[in-house]
Amino acid sequence: MVEKSSFEWKGLESLSHNFLTGRLEDFVKWSRRNSMWPTTFGLACCAIEMMAAGAADYDLARFGMEVFRPSPRQSDLLIVAGRLSQKMAPVLRQVYDQMVEPKWVISMGVCASTGGMFNNYAIVQGVDEIVPVDVYAPGCPPSPQTLIHSILTLHEKVRTGEITQRRRARAGGAAVDLSSEVAGWTQPLPQPVRIGTPR
């Protein structure tokens, strides 16, 4: 019978903090939010506004995000832009599962957030029935400014470490098994989007 090792890797946050590891963690978070590459998952009208956000006038390149990777294995962020139909839902889940941790999801537009104006047999009433969503961006379609606001909100959440902690408590991805009493942390209630650009 193999003895269980006493050392368990719990991620950066569990390292007892000293000056060096604190700086390392900040550095990791900085690099994560400043090069968060999105997957191309444009579905409908919101996709056009997403492309406009990536184009010259509303340049996403200043946030390091102009490279929309077609392959989910090479991207961090899934912006679900547009209405998700019943036929497309398994595809969304498959693409989400192919992404590697850490990964985030922005639900762009009202159709992706709640089903929008299409409350019927054909549209999934919110992509959070399929994938866990981190930021919801309202609008039909949200203008590129709204999308950038939602991206900056996500960056802020990554900067404060809020998101990474939540992933850990849910034991999501990367086959890491953690129980909540080890973490000693419970999931906070979701926060509404703040008015005004986060710092």
């Binding site: 492309m51 406009a52 010259a56 497309m88 379609p141 203008s143």
Partner: protein
């Protein structure tokens, strides 16, 4: 040659073939007439399509896994791979199943339905005034065309006449929308052919138009501006300067596109001779719009069956010669020039007057009058809660959207909601031309051809 005939008792007896007798009598060969292989120019497109159209008839869920151990390149095995529905070619959630031998596409099958929204069923639940919010999201690159066709259908059913200014405003907005759509197409087409600069250029032009739309209609996209009875609001002050600036800037920028794409050898090699379709095949498949015109058929609804005030403006219908990808690109680029021409004429000739029909049952009263007049308040209330009630009947109207013939078939049953609202989406019908276009092309050409067909999946799937 004799034929054996089996009688009921099971015994066979041979019967002299009438052809033999005839041959003996006439001393010449008989002809098999319609069974013979006719020369190609006499074979109609339908037969050609059925014989060699290249449609892969396989269920969508058929196994697409290729076992690498069993696959033998040398023997010329074919494999079936999947393109989409999530893929970087930014034309939406279209899936194409391709049968490949090496790099060559033998057969193809487009699979759609990944964006089906139930818009036609939603259209039966919304009143005529609300209906435009629904249809505008079908072809999301030219929302004003969708609203226009819906409004025209409702107005046919109601029997209202519009004041001239409403008609001319609609024409201005739909032509600006056409420029917008073609510029976006040029941008994504360039991106698909690996010219990222074209994407940036195209979206830069698009922003000019979108800011004008936002100023006039309130929204950048999905505007809900063209409504039954006219348009939602009058053009803002200073619109002539804005439109003039747009027309001038885009006309100059088109020269940039020519420099970037039209004259560039790589682009030309990738598009010339690629994805050729004949006019007969286009007509048989019901393809309309730039695909039909690029193959040589001069059919444009704005010229042939004019609506709005297109018979009062002067513009050319752009027709191609070969019907390949380059022709489709050239047709669209020149259509931008023609639309600029139309926009300039609209600038000169825009009549003054009402921007919507002065029929209280159809258009709401101005907001200021609601405070003053009880009748205005009642009309406003009635219109926005229950709305107009056209008498029973059915009608089909069609306009020329940037993708082709956009039609609306509407059945009214006397209530305030359409009994049936069907939109004939040009991309839905144009996608049927994809298998013949893709046949015998290379995989690299697949993206170029797909992009030149310009499908917008919102209207394909509705």
């Amino acid at each position: 040659m004799t034929r054996e005939v089996t009688t009921e008792k099971g015994a066979t007896e041979t019967e002299p073939n009438p052809a033999d007798e005839a041959r003996a009598r006439l001393g010449s060969e008989t002809s098999e007439a319609s069974q013979e292989l006719a020369p190609r120019e006499f074979t109609d497109a339908t037969r050609l399509l059925i014989e060699e159209g290249g449609v892969l008839r396989l269920p969508e869920s058929a196994a697409l896994d290729v076992d690498p151990d069993e696959f033998d390149f040398a023997e010329g095995d074919t494999m079936i791979i999947n393109l989409g529905p999530q893929h970087p070619s930014t034309h939406g959630v279209l899936r194409v199943m391709l049968e490949l031998r090496g790099e060559t596409v033998l057969r193809a099958k487009p699979v759609i339905g990944y964006l089906h929204t139930g818009m036609e069923k939603t259209g039966e639940q919304l009143t005529y005034l609300q209906g435009t919010t629904n249809v505008t999201r079908m072809d999301y690159l030219s929302p004003l065309s969708n609203e226009l066709v819906f409004s025209l259908a409702v107005e046919e059913l109601l029997g209202v006449q519009l004041p001239p200014r409403a008609t001319w405003i609609r024409m201005l907005m739909t032509e600006l929308n056409r420029i917008n759509s073609h510029v976006t197409w040029a941008a994504t087409n360039g991106m698909d052919l690996a010219s990222t600069t074209m994407m940036i250029f195209g979206f830069r032009e698009r922003e000019l138009l979108l800011s004008f739309f936002e100023k006039t209609t309130g929204l950048r996209m999905n505007t809900n501006y063209i409504r039954p009875g006219g348009v939602a609001a009058d053009l803002p002050d200073g619109w002539e300067d804005d439109v003039d600036a747009i027309a001038e800037t885009i006309a100059l920028r088109l020269d940039d596109y020519d420099e970037l794409l039209t004259g560039q050898p790589i682009f030309r090699e990738r598009t010339e001779g690629v994805g050729v379709i004949s006019p007969e095949m286009c007509l048989a498949m019901g393809a309309t719009g730039p695909i039909l015109r690029a193959s040589g058929v001069p059919w444009d609804l704005r010229r042939s069956m004019p609506y709005l005030a297109y018979d009062e403006v002067d513009f050319d219908v752009i027709v191609g010669t070969v019907g390949d990808t380059f022709d489709r690109y050239a047709v669209r680029l020149n259509e931008i020039r023609e639309s600029i021409r139309i926009v300039r004429q609209v600038l000169d000739k825009m009549p003054s007057g009402d921007y919507r029909a002065q029929d209280a049952k159809v258009t709401p009263p101005p907001r200021a009058r609601i405070d003053e007049s009880m009748e205005a308040l009642i009309h406003h209330f009635k219109l926005f809660t229950s709305g107009m009630e056209p008498p029973e009947g059915e009608v089909y109207v069609a306009v020329e959207s940037p993708r082709g013939e956009l039609g609306c078939y509407m059945v009214a049953d006397g209530t305030n909601k359409p009994y049936r609202m069907h939109v004939r989406a040009p991309s839905f019908v144009n996608l049927q031309s994809l298998p013949p276009l893709l046949r015998n092309s290379l995989i690299a050409d697949t993206v170029a051809i797909l992009s030149s067909v310009d499908p917008v999946l919102g209207e394909v799937d509705r």
